[in-house]
């Protein structure tokens, strides 16, 4: 049916189910071809790209981790030299934090939040497209620099003065700082999109107390991003200014201060941990609910715990600075706040345990990942309580104990739930199931490999091994444990390889997934797998927290939307009562071109400050073209 057949004000009630589906499919479609691919604003396509790109960065970062483990396997090993090693561990850390962990969590938000709240696209879909291209450009920048032996060698934390104009020679530190600008720009854009999507585009009836926990977690995460990431933007910008135009922010000889960097970095850096962890918490809540076959116990405490964690996250950055010699009053405050964050995290664990206890657990791969998560994450949380104590931290700070601790938190606490989430939502995203038998192997290998790799690092730290050393002497007696760790890392690597194998193979030959393969209760399972380009042919209407359990046989929907333009519902913040039939932007090439223009400006500014001036002109042009109305039905109101 062509556009001309449809009256301009025709509504979805005018068409039968099948004709409506066809009509909406052509309206929301991404055209084939390279131009279509570059112009799409479909949150599912962009989210999928984000996820795939982030996992490629995980793989690359994992290769660096293995290189580190080969180097450290024996004392005085010569596999990597000092210079390469320092680049490798810096890029490993920066890559895992900025190019993998944060983007992959946001990517799941980009893909899932619109589906879970029952809308047709994310808010500001063009900004979403822009954010992906900027993220990709930042990632390529970092890895190209490493490939050209220009990789940053200053640690992912880039402490001044080592990263400053006097000691950070060449362009290595500038590359790091500009990579930050790229990734934070994209993260901030996505955060605003998710906040507005959750605030304004929830399905009618999805009042605050009916929002799925994963959506809550993405909302809190987005606020954390909005409040925390400006700190690292300010930090990296001032660092570039010090390096490029001779400002003195970090030069103690001219009134600057070295610790200012650490305050700014960790004011971002600690919330960063929760930016990675809170979405994982949301994933765990989703998986536990579905596979315990029971509504979550303690919905309200879980939501409050998310908020408490989010607020406390801003009150404990100084625990990364316990050995810099700050006043004791300050240290005591930050010990107390760092300890206190264990309480909301404890509440979450208790709620999941209670749900599993009272439910009927089905031991599918996603739930196995959750079990692996609880066992390992609790260790990471408890060692977190240890490092929160100032005196104890003076012994373990900057040692392998801390390396062990944060890998327990980040891999145990975030990657295990993330992989569980991949097994859980893969059928929705790809339309095929992943392999259950392989999945069990993946869980087992990762769980065993992870613990064998990282647990001994606690001991290595206590027996004196500092972080970030490219080698150590045989007289230190760290060789045996390090060899054990390196060999265990092979098991961990095999687990990841098997995971990637399963994910790729299942995309081609996995069992075809039905709409709701797990019998899950939330809205993303109320549409086909994978969802049509418009997500829902009719926008769902919700009357409870678990719509597909409460009404298993028919989905309540709204009617009366236009079918000559991309249209979705805007609802009120608290009770999600419908306010308007808003249009959603069409595909556009301009976000891509704006990202190119921004990339040119940001990269050129490493070499000349004037690039900021002339580089803004093409950015302004692309932005104007992006926003200039094109007279499509979407512009009517």
């Amino acid at each position: 049916m062509s556009t001309s057949d449809i009256a301009p004000d025709a509504r979805d009630t005018a068409l039968q189910e099948k004709a409506l589906a066809e009509r909406l499919a052509s309206l929301w479609a991404t055209p084939r071809g390279i131009l279509g691919a570059l112009s799409t604003v479909d949150h599912k396509i962009i989210g999928r790209r984000y996820i795939v790109t982030a996992f490629i960065f995980l793989l690359l970062g994992g290769v660096l981790a293995l290189a580190i483990r080969i180097q450290l396997a024996r004392p005085e090993n010569r596999f990597l030299g000092a210079d390469i090693y320092n680049q490798v561990f810096t890029v490993h850390g920066s890559n895992m934090m900025f190019l993998f962990a944060v983007p992959v969590m946001e990517a799941f938000g980009v893909y899932l939040v619109p589906l879970m709240v029952g809308t047709r696209n994310i808010a500001f879909p063009r900004l979403n497209a822009f954010s992906y291209w900027i993220y990709l450009a930042g990632g390529i920048t970092l890895w190209a620099a490493l490939a050209l032996d220009m990789g940053p060698d200053i640690g992912w934390f880039a402490y001044v003065p080592l990263s400053g104009p006097q000691f950070g020679a060449g362009k290595r530190a500038d590359i790091w700082a500009q990579m930050i600008t790229f990734t934070e720009l994209s993260a901030l854009a996505v955060a605003v999109e998710i906040v507005v999507t959750v605030f304004k585009q929830r399905a009618p009836g999805m009042s605050l107390d009916r929002i799925p926990l994963f959506v809550w977690s993405m909302l809190v995460t987005s606020f954390l991003i909005i409040m925390a990431m400006p700190a690292i933007m300010v930090a990296s910008t001032t660092l570039i200014l010090d390096r490029l135009v001779g400002t003195h922010f970090y030069n103690p000889a001219e009134g600057g201060d070295v610790l200012l960097w650490q305050h700014l970095f960790w004011f971002f850096g600690h919330p960063e941990v929760y930016i990675i962890f809170l979405p994982a918490v949301g994933m765990v809540s989703s998986i536990v609910t579905t596979f315990a076959r029971r509504p979550i116990v303690g919905y309200l405490p879980l939501v409050l715990a998310l908020f408490a964690t989010g607020i406390l996250a801003f009150g404990l950055w100084v625990h990364h600075m316990f050995v810099v010699g700050l006043p004791r009053v300050g240290e005591s405050f930050f010990t107390a706040s760092s300890m206190a964050i264990a309480v909301p995290n404890g509440i979450q664990i208790f709620c999941w345990l209670a749900t599993l206890w009272d439910g009927r657990p089905q031991f599918r791969t996603p739930l196995l990942f959750v079990v692996a998560f609880i066992i390992t994450f609790v260790i990471g949380g408890l060692t977190g309580v240890m490092v929160a104590s100032v005196p104890l931290d003076t012994q373990v700070h900057d040692t392998y104990f801390v390396v062990a601790h944060f890998h327990y938190v980040l891999i145990g606490g975030a990657v295990f739930p993330l992989l569980g989430a991949v097994y859980y939502w893969y059928p929705k995203i790809v339309g095929r199931m992943m392999n259950e038998r392989l999945g069990r192997w993946v869980v087992a290998l990762l769980f065993v490999g992870f613990n064998l790799t990282f647990f001994p690092m606690h001991i290595l730290g206590l027996i004196g091994m500092p972080r970030r050393v490219y080698t150590y002497g045989p007289e230190m007696h760290w060789g045996g444990l390090n060899l054990f760790v390196s060999l265990s890392a092979v098991i961990l690597a095999v687990g990841f390889v098997l995971f990637f194998y399963d994910a790729i193979r299942s995309a081609f030959s996995g069992e075809i997934a039905p709409e709701n393969p797990w019998g899950a209760p939330t809205l993303e399972w109320a549409t086909s797998s994978p969802p049509p380009s418009c997500n829902f042919e009719r926008i769902p209407v919700v009357s409870g927290s678990y719509p597909l359990w409460e009404e298993p046989h028919a989905l309540s929907v709204a009617t009366g939307l236009r079918i000559n333009r991309r249209e979705l519902l805007v609802t009120s913040i608290s009770d999600a009562s419908p306010q308007a039939r808003e249009s959603s932007p069409r595909n556009s090439i301009w976000p891509f071109l704006a990202a190119i223009a921004s990339t040119v400006m940001l990269l050129s500014s490493i070499f000349s400050p004037w690039a900021v001036v002339w580089g803004s002109v093409p950015i302004a042009v692309t932005l104007i073209m992006w926003f200039w109305p094109k007279g499509t039905p979407e512009d009517i109101s």
């Binding site: 030299g81 070295v258 010699g325 309480v343 439910g359 005196p391 900057d398 027996i463 007289e475 007696h477």
Partner: protein, 337 residues
């Protein structure tokens, strides 16, 4: 997991030359501070282990307890939900109590760490890329001030206060067998106090990433009886030994004429450079190049011949020397006890 858990083993080997398990270990305390820190570590480990085991037991029971057959999502009973919420609340209260107690214990432990003492021995330590300059201060007798790069000697039982500063990048002082760590920060002054309780050789290492050779920035703390400490101090205050044979004499003249003297001091000679470590008593120290090599004539020769292979990026340049000159200068260095 080897001997990490056997702190006593470290005490057995008192003066190792090629290292010893426990000479750089928080688990082998030989000082007042590290001892109380280890007690704190064990307290936390035990409490955390108990909490972890409780969680795992509950998890195991939750997963595997017998329950009625069925697959449908259950209807919620309000009484059941409120009972579960009550249990969660109780567990939360327990968490708060445990966390509160650990916080208090931590505060108390912090208070005990640096005690003011009249009899304190004060040193100044400056971190450089990548070595440590240690100055023994004496406010009343400036002629008793001397430098001891990369090696600290302390009398057992006497509190030592190290004033820490850095001129290039951030470094961190850490001798785990004696105390926790403290950063050396450009533009800021810090200090750390420790008391060695047993004679021994303890190793310290820079714990803040400081660039290319961060891995090779170690130093030794040698705790000895007050008598041997005083003897050592006297020998260090003395000027360098005079060359005792022709080889050493030739070595001395190579040292003072070639580039060496531009960066290094040997008191009693014309060499008075200050960019690199003071070498007046270099051969009295156990290691050269910040813990990289044990001090022998051979290692001195190797280091002088090719520092950039042994420690790439180090500020020590390769000075072109003939093989004779190299032999002479290393003999001279080895004579500087």
């Amino acid at each position: 997991m080897r001997s990490g858990f056997k702190p006593l083993l470290g005490a057995v080997c008192a003066f190792p030359l090629s290292g010893c398990i426990g000479w750089q270990s928080a688990l082998s305390p030989h000082g007042a501070q590290s001892g109380s820190l280890l007690r704190l570590i064990w307290l936390f480990v035990v409490v955390c282990a108990v909490v972890w085991i409780l969680v795992i037991v509950v998890l195991a029971v939750a997963l595997f307890r017998r329950r009625p057959i069925g697959n449908e999502p259950p209807l919620l009973e309000p009484s059941r939900e409120s009972r579960l919420n009550g249990i969660i609340a109780a567990a939360t209260v327990m968490t708060v109590l445990v966390i509160g107690t650990l916080t208090l214990v931590s505060f108390v432990a912090t208070r005990g760490l640096d005690s003011a003492d009249e009899n304190v021995l004060t040193l100044r330590m400056r971190g450089f890329q990548w070595w440590w300059e240690i100055t023994y201060l004496d406010a009343s007798r400036p002629d008793r001030i001397f430098l001891s790069p990369n090696e600290i000697h302390v009398p057992v039982g006497r509190p030592v206060r190290v004033r820490l500063s850095a001129d290039d990048v951030i470094h961190s002082f850490w001798v785990p067998s004696l105390a926790g760590k403290k950063d050396l920060i450009p533009g800021r002054d810090n200090a750390i106090t420790f008391t060695a309780t047993r004679p021994g050789v303890y190793r310290g290492q820079c714990a803040e990433f400081c660039g290319l050779q961060h891995a090779h920035m170690a130093f030794l703390v040698i705790a000895e009886t007050p008598q041997s400490f005083e003897a050592w101090r006297r020998s260090q205050i003395a000027e360098a030994a005079s060359p005792s044979n022709d080889e050493e004499k030739r070595g001395q003249s190579v040292f003072t004429v070639k580039a060496c003297a531009a960066c290094h001091t040997v008191r009693g000679t014309s060499a008075s450079g200050s960019l690199g470590p003071d070498l007046t008593h270099v051969a009295s120290r156990r290691y050269i190049a910040s813990g990289l090599l044990e001090t022998t004539r051979g290692s001195l020769a190797a280091w002088i011949a090719d520092p950039q292979t042994l420690k790439p990026g180090s500020n020590m340049p390769s000075v072109p020397l003939s093989s004779d000159e190299l032999r002479d200068v290393s003999a001279y260095m080895a004579s500087l006890k």
